[in-house]
Point group: C2
DNA sequence: TCTGTATACTTGAGCTATCAACGATCATAG
DNA sequence: CTATGATCGTTGATAGCTCAAGTATACAGA
């Protein structure tokens, strides 16, 4: 059954990747994900809500995750001039360096554990199939 | 990128499924998974280690998960005659009824959110592709 | 028989994420 | 201008899982 396979595959690959990322850079998969999204964003910053939507976390999940990244000095809060409700999460210089230094090793891990299993065609197929799932298309830049 | 898609797809579908399962039957996805595996096993019981390996949880994860199922009366411990280290997790009558009553509604949810997106061929393709991932082939009966 | 190593399981501490409730701020319609 | 309702964000309580360490049993070799 494809669904079970999907569950197991996610658990297995994710476990491997996250322990490697943790050991090599002290980052969670979610941490990494957030930092990357910020680094891709206009001005290296995003509203917390938008961030939540793209990485599929709850608002409160984002608050707590960013707490950590702020404490580490990789992200800082910025107020929004036009709307006092929103605060941006902005990458600091240190944060930019952090993600840049983590990216290559993590990409290599992803490639090893995931990408290397597939040809370009197969990757495209997989991508297309998974994109059909409800909400799976949230912010898949790159 | 297929990997990001994979992550998002899992987060999205899984979130939906688990809240439905929780509301309808008071079960976690993992709970359900464990109960199903037990129901499929010889004599409706499995050694805890084997259970851990098939659903990809830690030994301690299994202990705690089973704590809950035991408290609910769906699973009971059984000692092993030939090896005093092992204890079986065995489905009780109530547990069997529970999983039987939950199965159809959950299967429908899985079908709606996952299966219905694909033809039989596509499901087979997806299954084959995901099966290549390291460890993704752990106990995918059915 | 003793000794060392591997396996099965549990427990305490900690982490990440959730939900529910709450306080602000904004936008719109009377 | 004010009430209503939506949106943005944080916080307390809690769930589910992990890791590290510990206990107990099994087994194989000196």
């Amino acid at each position: 059954m494809a669904w079970i396979r999907f569950l197991r595959a996610h658990a297995a690959v994710t476990r491997q990747l996250s322990t490697r990322l943790e050991n090599a850079h002290g980052l969670t998969l979610s941490d990494f994900d957030v930092l990357v999204q910020l680094s891709l964003a206009e001005g290296n910053r995003l509203r917390r809500v938008d961030l939540a939507r793209t990485v599929l976390l709850t608002a409160s999940g984002i608050t707590r995750l960013l707490d950590g990244l702020e404490r580490a000095g990789w992200v800082e809060k910025q107020r929004c001039a036009s709307d006092a409700r929103v605060t941006y999460a902005a990458l600091t210089k240190a944060g930019l360096e952090k993600i840049e230094s983590a990216r290559s090793s993590h990409s290599a891990d992803v490639e090893e554990l995931f990408g290397s299993q597939y040809s370009e065609n197969e990757k495209a197929t997989l991508d297309e199939l998974l994109a059909r799932l409800p909400l799976a298309d949230t912010a898949c830049q790159k």
